[in-house]
Amino acid sequence: MTVTPEALSLDKPRSPRRPAARRSNFELYSWVFMRISGLLLVVLVLGHLFIMNILDGGVHRINFAFVAGRWSSPFWQTWDLLMLWLAQLHGGNGLRVIIDDYARRDSTRFWLKMLLYVAMAVILVLGTLVIFTFDPDIPAS
């Protein structure tokens, strides 16, 4: 391995080899968001898992009517909406960080992130749509 002269010279110690700081607080806010959404998810997700899997017979009682019954209440609509958005943004931002960690090339990084953002958008839109437009009167087959 050859040592580049640049690697040895110390005569311009302050010359930037990194891009100048962007002066953006994005990483700070996303760090704070991970912690706050994590706290809320403890309640939302554990509560959700408890109701769906443990309370009164758990999964065995889940059917169309059960879901329809829950979503007729604004409380559960809000719960599920909040859980959907928080988990999606929390998990999505977590994956963004992991892509930043492991993608070696800028193009790989870009396309993986595009895939992630598209997947997030589709799930968020679809989920929100279902929660708000759910029609309990469609014939259950």
């Binding site: 391995m1 110690p13 080899r17 990194r18 700081a21 953006s24 990483e27 700070l28 960690d101 492991y102």
Partner: protein
């Protein structure tokens, strides 16, 4: 990386003082002019419990294979030249005693020695430190003061000095940065050592460059990449609470207060 090329090495020339036991030193060797990738080689050498791993390396270099390459300068844990992975943990070879590595009675002791990770290995046990020092220089690790130079010394209270005492102890050995999984994956992360040395000035009451440094560390490759793994704190041979220092920089950014 895995191939074990074990041609037995003749270690009989190494002096074996009274009380010494034979230990196996397994070194991850790499000669860029010959090898495509690093490989392990084992040396059965006599060792006193009071020997340091650095002594064993020197015995191998002096009596078995003069091409074994590693850095050391002070041999007393001060210069920070000889950070390496000893039994899988980043340590200074000059500070690790053989007695702390000995296997249980009757078992053969094996000590593995590999270069620190995350920086390019140049030969055997030494790495290219330039990416490490580049990150160090990028946080402006020097006193920044504006206005007229005072005619007397810059006075500081004991409490103000105490504020950053821990991070003044850094010897830039890179044990912390090269133990950080985020740094292994993403070499543009500043890494714990750069943050420790930024901390040393950010919290210095005489310094006026805190904002600049905090801006630098607020960036995408700055403190927010830290995932609080604590590997750095475990690795630091100076006992610096590295993770705590990083956390204090995060807090200063969050609450806009130094």
């Amino acid at each position: 990386m895995t191939a074990v090329a074990d041609t037995a090495h003749d270690t009989s020339q190494i002096p074996a003082p009274e009380g010494s036991v034979t230990v196996t030193v397994k070194i991850l060797r790499f000669n860029p002019e010959v090898d495509d990738e690093p490989h392990w080689e084992s040396y059965d050498v006599p060792a006193l419990p009071t020997d340091r791993v650095l002594n064993l390396l020197f015995n191998i270099k002096n009596y078995v294979d003069g091409t074994l390459s590693f850095r050391r300068s002070c041999a007393h844990g001060i210069c920070g030249s000889d950070a390496m992975q000893i039994n899988g943990i980043n340590r200074l070879a000059c500070k690790v005693l053989v007695k702390d590595l000995l296997a249980k009675k009757g078992k053969q002791t094996t000590i593995t020695v590999a270069p620190i990770k995350g920086l390019p290995t140049m030969k055997d046990l030494y790495v290219d430190m330039e990416p490490f020092f580049e990150a160090y220089r990028a946080v402006k690790p020097y006193l920044i003061a504006y206005g007229n130079e005072p005619t007397r010394e810059r006075i500081q209270s004991q409490a103000d000095r105490e504020r950053f005492d821990d991070t003044t102890k850094c010897i830039l050995c890179a044990a912390c940065t090269s133990s950080c999984p985020v740094y292994w994956a993403d070499g543009s992360y500043f890494g714990p050592a750069a943050i420790v040395n930024a901390h040393r000035f950010i919290f210095d009451s005489r310094d006026e460059g805190s904002e600049e440094r905090l801006d630098i560390l607020n960036d995408a490759e700055g403190v927010w990449r830290c995932r609080t793994t604590f590997n750095c704190t475990d690795a630091c041979p100076r006992g610096i609470q590295v993770t705590k220092a990083i956390q204090e920089v995060k807090r200063a950014l969050l609450f806009k207060r130094v």
